[in-house]
Each structure stands twice: as structure tokens, then as C-alpha cells.
Symmetry: C2
């Protein structure tokens, strides 16, 4: 497995495209737990939803990611002994998760520095655009790719290949940015560069292939990339 | 997708083999959180470890499941602000999770009723046998299958096919029993029957294909199967 040209921390070159994961990376999932006064449950619900998507990817299922979020919220509420009626409110929140406070500034800085920006989300492309619009970020991206186009979920390599193809780029010209080790693993397996943001997971899962870059937040990511 | 011959709740027939998932289904994962006095974290650590295994399955990785458990324990401890030194103790616990209290009685009852018993675990076969031995259950099973034989993880259909082939059975003669919706999904996709036990997840994830049978615990499973 090799990193992209020039994305390694010791390399002087830089990627053309910065391809962002959406849920949890550009947006704050805490609101998923707000109906129960448990913002800490947001990351967990999102992580369990991702496991649902991976289950579909491995068994031939093809549900909208939203259904996996609902399933995860339902199970987590039951595990925590919380009112199941909160699930509907959590799903309303899921449709409009707010951007992380540093997202817009970091993205504008990257664009100002000559980077081209896109999104690859485990949601469908249309749902992804709606989320970005609600978060006030949609105008910053040239393209938004969803997994619905290939009928599977990240980290299936076909999802990354779909985005790379849509960008008319080589995998090594694209840096995937995610707050999830599983997304770093998928991007690396597909030949893309990968950056890991220390949100949600807090520490890099030790099973994750070495990212080309790590940062505490999106501001930190922008600073690292603009120093190249 | 069709269930196995006779396993449907309305059907009079019964499967030849009952194939048990191990971690969380036959054993209680609470001890994974015991180093921090947080038994509630056990199910969560195990669930995150499974997501790590699915990531390997989708990206060509092939780590022992134990590494995914360690990664999950490391991240969950960081997310909860717990002492990272507890991870080593959690890993010691992981190697010897106790059987659920009703496991031995339920398994003996099933054998007495003419069912043949086997295990298919997301661990390697040898690690699975060691876990069963430590839990005092190994003598009850005719076969123990691990995912190491196929270099992937459940719910990849090849894992179920490996077990079915090893039992010299048809998929429809085998009922997979698991406390995990993703395992039910995998078994059904591979043509096996599937029973879901309401432990850990507490409620059946709504994205799960309809199981052939559900039960609150292993005693309940045995009662349902012996009534056939």
C-alpha cells in the first residue's frame, strides 16, 4: 500500500483534491443524542450506523444511510434505557447536523490556498448536499459524491473509486479527510491519501493504516496542508 | 432470500445443526469494561471491534479479532476519559469471558433433544476453542469454526459457507444463533436460518432481515427449538 504522491508528511508535494467525509468530520453528531440530553451518544449512534452500512456492503443490502442511523438510534436508546420516542427527534436532528465551528474557516483557507474541495459521504449524494446546505457549507465544494451511486458503503473501495473517477483525478492526487479510522483504511486501500482528524474517535484506532497526516481539528488540517 | 427448510416459526420442521456465534452470544462481554468499573462498556467495545473486523473484510485486511478488540477498547477508553492502562486488563478479560449463566443448561437441553451443535466465531478457530474451554462449554460442540480459515470476518458470506461446508450440511439445515443483527443478516444472505437473542442489542435493529426465531436468552431459544 502506498500513499499518494507528495502527501506523506515528509514529502514536499501536495494533493490537488481534498475529499472530505461528511458525517462527523464536517458536522458535529452530538445533536443526535440531544433529544435525551445525551450529546455523548451522537458519536456512538453514528458509529453503529456505519457498522450497519458495512453490514449492507458485505451482505448485498442497499438501504439509505438514514435507515442505519435510525436503527442505531433505536438500539442505543434501548441499551441506555432511554425513551424510544426520542428516536424521531434524533432523526430530525440527523437531517441537519451543524457544521463544526471551525469548518467554514478551514475550508475557505484551503480554497484560498489553491486546494480543490469535494465531499464523499456514506449518505446518498442528494442527502449529502442537503446536509451541507443546512450546515451552510455547500458552496465551498465542487462536487458531492454519495454511496448511492455504487450501491454499497464506505470503506468498500468502489466508493472511493467512484469519487476519484468523478473528479477525473488519479487516486494519488486525492487526500481523503475523515474523523474515522475505517475511512482512512478504505481510502488507503483504494490508493488515495488519507488524513485523520482527532474528533469523535479521540485517539487513532491502532488498527488503522498510518495516515498521511493527522490533525486535532479542521483548522489544524488546513494549517498543515497550507504549510506544504 | 429464503429461510432454511422448516426453521420458520410457522414451519413444523427443524434444522439439523445449531451454529452459535461466540462473543456476546455464548459469553457475557461485561467483563471487558470491568477494569474501569463500567460493565456497560463491554457490549460497546465488542460492537466497535466487530466494525473493525468488517473494515478488514472490506479493505483486504486480515488481523486477528483480538487486535480489533484492543483497538476498540483503546478508543472507547479515550472517548470516556478513562485510564488507558485499563486496556491491558480488558484484553486479559477478553481472553476469558464467562459463559452466560444459562448457556450450559440450554446447550445440554438442545443436545438432549437431538440437535447437533457447532460454533462459528469472528475469532480464529483456536482462539474460539480456548474461549469455549475457559467458559466450560467446549465439550458441548462437535465443531468450532473461525474466520481465520477464510481470511475475512462475518458477515462476509464466505465465513458462513466455510462453516456449512465443514459441517457437510446444506445451508438450510443450519440455524445460526447470534445476539447481533449483523450476524443474522449475514447468515440469511448466505442461505442459513438465523435466530436472534435479545442480549446486548436489547432490541432487534430495524435494518435486520426477519430472523426465523427470536428469544430473550439461550434458555428461551432452547425452549423454542425443543417445541418443534
Amino acid at each position: 500500500m502506498t500513499g499518494p504522491r507528495g502527501v506523506g508528511d515528509d514529502a514536499p508535494m501536495r494533493p490537488t483534491w481534498v475529499l472530505f467525509d461528511l458525517n462527523g468530520t464536517l458536522t458535529d453528531p452530538s445533536a443526535l443524542g440531544a433529544p435525551w440530553g445525551r450529546p455523548d451518544l451522537g458519536v456512538r449512534i453514528l458509529g453503529d450506523a456505519v457498522r450497519g452500512g458495512m453490514t449492507d456492503a458485505l451482505t448485498g443490502g442497499d438501504r439509505p444511510f438514514r435507515e442505519h442511523v435510525r436503527a442505531a438510534a433505536t438500539v442505543v436508546a434501548a441499551q441506555e434505557g432511554l425513551d424510544p420516542d426520542g428516536v424521531d427527534a434524533a432523526m430530525e436532528a440527523a437531517a441537519g447536523l451543524p457544521a463544526w465551528p471551525d469548518a467554514r474557516g478551514a475550508l475557505e483557507a484551503l480554497r484560498g490556498g489553491g486546494y480543490r474541495l469535494a465531499v464523499l459521504t456514506n449518505s446518498g449524494a442528494e442527502a449529502g448536499r442537503a446536509t451541507l446546505e443546512a450546515a451552510g457549507l455547500l458552496d465551498l465544494f465542487e462536487s458531492v459524491f454519495g454511496v448511492d451511486a455504487v450501491g454499497t458503503f464506505k470503506p468498500d473501495r468502489r466508493t472511493y473509486e467512484h469519487a476519484v473517477s468523478g473528479l477525473d483525478a488519479a487516486p494519488g492526487d486525492v487526500l481523503l479527510v475523515a474523523a474515522h479510522g475505517w475511512d482512512v483504511a478504505g481510502a488507503r486501500a483504494a490508493g488515495l491519501g488519507a488524513a485523520w482528524i482527532a474528533r469523535g474517535e479521540v485517539v487513532l484506532p491502532p488498527t488503522t493504516p498510518e495516515p498521511d497526516l493527522t490533525a486535532p481539528d479542521l483548522d489544524g488540517l488546513a494549517a498543515r496542508l497550507l504549510a506544504r
